[in-house]
Structure formats: C-alpha cells, structure tokens
Symmetry: C2
Subunit: 261 residues, 2 copies
C-alpha cells in the first residue's frame, strides 16, 4: 500500500518468512530481524545503569520496543514514527515483530522524529535509539547535524544515543557511514561504531553508532546484564565487547572523518 510518506509492502518467502519492504528496500525479514533488533536495543541497555526512560525514533515495525519491553526497570518507552501506516501494516502482517507495541509502557507518537526531539525537554531520556530507514525519503532528517544536536540536548548528562549506520562495504553506503560518523563524532564526547552480521541487509555487514556523554561502550558494559536473564539469539556480553573491534578497512574509513570542532 501507498501511505502518505512511502510505499509499504509485505511479502512472504520460502527461506526468510515474511518480509517488510519500504520504497523497494527490505526493512526486515522474520528470519533475521532478531539480529538487528537485539543489537540496537541491548547494547545501550547493557551499558547504561538502570535506564528508565527510552526514546525510539523510527522503528515502526515494533522490533526494537519488543526487545526493550524485556527490561522490567524501564518506566517509559516512547516511540516516534512518522508513518502510522507502518505500525498498522506490521501489527497486521508481522505480529512476531509488532508484539512489542502491546507493552503498556510503550507510547506511540505519530510525528516527525526531527521535530519531536526539537521539542523535548533537556535531559528527558536516558537512551535514544535511532531506528531509521535509509537517509533517503522520510528518514533523511534523521542523519542531519541538527538532529544529532537535538538528541544530545534531549539526553540526560550520562545519556546514550545509538543509531543504525548502514554498511561500510559498498562505496555509496560507505559515504553515508562517514557522513553520519563525522557529525556524531563532533556532537558527542564518546563516539564508537559496532558491527553485526545481518544477512538480508546489503553486504550482510551492518554498522551501528554508539554515542555517549559519559559511558564507554566496552569498558563500562555491566556484567549484571547477565542476571536479568533476558533470552537472546544473537546478543551476549562477549559479543557486545567483540562487536566494537572492527576490520582495518572500516577503522580507516571512520578515522578519516574523526575531526572535533
């Protein structure tokens, strides 16, 4: 179907289960969405001590809030999705992913994420997760300097922002990686990149950005996370630490744009 913002489609495949396609790009498949959603949600949650207030920008499929809903200490999970039709379609056709919306702590806001963070109070969130589409179409604003600055402001003094960061492998995508990293690096004192194997995304080699005001993603990861007994299929603490060790060519790519203002 065509929403006000984009073309939303769900297909079914033999190997990968159902999959969500937006404007012709695969957003998730039932077969491997757990990798993306575990890696975007648990990495900041295992670092920030006792997070209570989380904002998810994008993520209308519900997978990220599903992972967040496993944490009993969370008091408030706000999700800002520009396109209410994405949520509706996912609730109907991708219930295993969209079940995250059933948690009463989840508040849905159908708004532009860029505007939403602009209007946030200072220090309103412990963690912001930018679960955006690619930087073309409605997701474009979520890769701007202004957006990152507003996220910084909306975060607590020890807050963490995590974002999906595209693949380093193909040249055009690598440009997006560099542009995003450059801007986040200038905005946050701690800025690192981590990786995961997501087979159905281009090249299968996917990056995430970890930006933080205080906590280091590897040195400050909390072993107590194990005690929560959260069931995962991809993420664990060993992998968390390892995922920040990047291939030489990716380190080189990121280094090129690490300039503080």
């Amino acid at each position: 179907m065509q929403s006000e913002f984009q073309r939303i489609e769900v297909f079914k495949s033999y190997d990968l289960g159902r999959f969500l396609v937006i404007d012709g790009y695969i957003m998730l498949t039932e077969r491997d969405e757990f990798i993306y959603h575990e890696m975007i949600a648990h990495v900041p949650m295992a670092v920030y001590p006792n997070a209570r207030r989380v904002l998810v920008i994008g993520g209308g499929d519900g997978g990220t809030v599903r992972e967040l809903s496993r944490y009993p200490q969370l008091e408030r999970i706000d999700l800002v999705e520009i396109d209410s039709e994405v949520v509706r379609v996912c609730r109907e056709y991708l219930p295993k992913t969209a079940c995250g919306f059933d948690d009463p702590r989840v508040n849905l806001h159908f708004e532009d994420g860029l505007r939403f963070v602009q209007d946030c109070s200072e220090g309103e969130y412990d963690i912001i997760i930018v679960d955006s589409t690619d930087p073309i179409g409605p997701g474009e604003g979520l890769f701007t300097f202004e957006f990152y600055k507003n996220c910084y402001k909306a975060l607590a003094d020890d807050g963490i922002m995590v974002n999906q960061h595209e693949t380093p492998f193909y040249d055009d995508d690598a440009k997006v990686v560099k542009r995003a990293h450059e801007r986040i690096y200038k905005t946050f004192p701690i800025c690192r990149v981590y990786q995961a194997h997501i087979p159905t995304y281009p090249s299968g080699h996917w990056l995430f950005g970890f930006a933080s005001k205080k906590y280091h993603p590897v040195h400050d990861v909390r072993d107590e996370w194990e005690q929560l007994g959260i069931k995962t299929d991809y993420y664990n603490l060993r992998l968390h630490r390892a995922s920040f060790s990047l291939p030489v060519y990716v380190e080189r790519l990121l280094k090129e744009c690490e300039v503080k203002e």
Copy 2:
C-alpha cells in the same frame, strides 16, 4: 572452461571486479577476497610461534599463499591443489590473487589433498590450512573424519589446522558447519570457531575452524605479530580476538555437536 574435475569460469562485474566461479558457485571476487584470505592465513600465523612449514590444501587461486608469503620466517609453503587448471586460469585472469605463486618458497603439488596428507610424515608441518571448496564435488573428501585425522598426524606436537567452515545462517549450510565441527572436535584437543564478514559469500557471515594440539587461539595470540609490519585491510590482533566471540545462535549450533569420543 571445463577441467577434468569441475567447470571453471571468470566473470567481470562493475562493483566487484573479476570473480572466479567453480561449478556455478562464486569462489572469490577481486573486491572482497582479501577478507577471506587474511582471515584464513593470519589467524594461525599470529598464534603459532615462528612457524616455518605450512601446508595449504586447496587454495588454487593463490590468495592464501600470497598472505603467507608476507612472512619472512617461513621456509616452506606447500600447496596441494587437485586441479592444475584452477591455478592456470587464476594466473592468467586473477593476477592480484595468484601473485602468491611467484614466491620461490611455494611448492605446487597437483594431487588429491586427501591422499597427500595420508602420505605425509608425522609432524611434518607446523600449520595446515584447508582452503577447500564446498563439500560437494572434488572438495568432499576434505570434510571427512579420515582427512582430519591425517592432518592431525601430519602436524607437529604443537601444530594448528585451520579450515573454511561455511555459513551458520542457512539450514543446509549449518548442517555442514555442524558435521565438520563435530569431526574436528573429536580429533583435536582444542577446537574453536571464528567468523568474518565476507559480503559475496552466502549470507555474508562466514565461519572458520581453528583446531590445535597446544595453542589457544585467543589466549596464545602473540602481540609480536604487530612488529612484523604486515599490511592488512581486514585483519588485526583486536579483530583476531573478537572474531572468536560468536552470536548466541551459532554458539548453540556448535555446542550441540561437541561430544568427545
């Protein structure tokens, strides 16, 4: 062209450079072969202290011996490739990969790898690298119990065997991973699996096996490797250590077949 053993083709693509296809499967592309070859060669070389004698089984494209030829301390690099036509085609069409054959320490043996290790003297090699095709067609024998046992015998008392191990993501490939891991686990006292992002291989998530009589792949990795000044684009020591931290679903898969005899 059709050799005695298999169909060998080289194509050219816009994004990935030239690529080698054997029996319809992509074996390597010029664009990302560095990842596979660095990960299969440098991991054992950074663990074994001062290796002098290495055997490569398969690897007729020359990429693995190219990486090995960067080590001045190596005295002998034996390569056993069943199909001399693979070497001829790669020398002609993939010179950036096949340049490894120019090293005078490299001895080519056009024989069946299974038979070759059977006839080796005990303890003849410090490291054996099994750079095979998939376990269908001529590569099949290189996934058998008998082959792994012969490799064990041909290795020094502190020897290391490394092999390519397929992807854990698709069910059929995961069966191959399990079968190989089960057999190697029964043969060697130390048996671990490590991973890399290889975009042009199925799923992009590729595994390697590390089997060893004495050295642990992570605890015994030698920091002196840095001093060799070997130029790499994927591998470094941090990544070496990190590559042995596997996703939960892969750990589970391997655990299922870890039974000592």
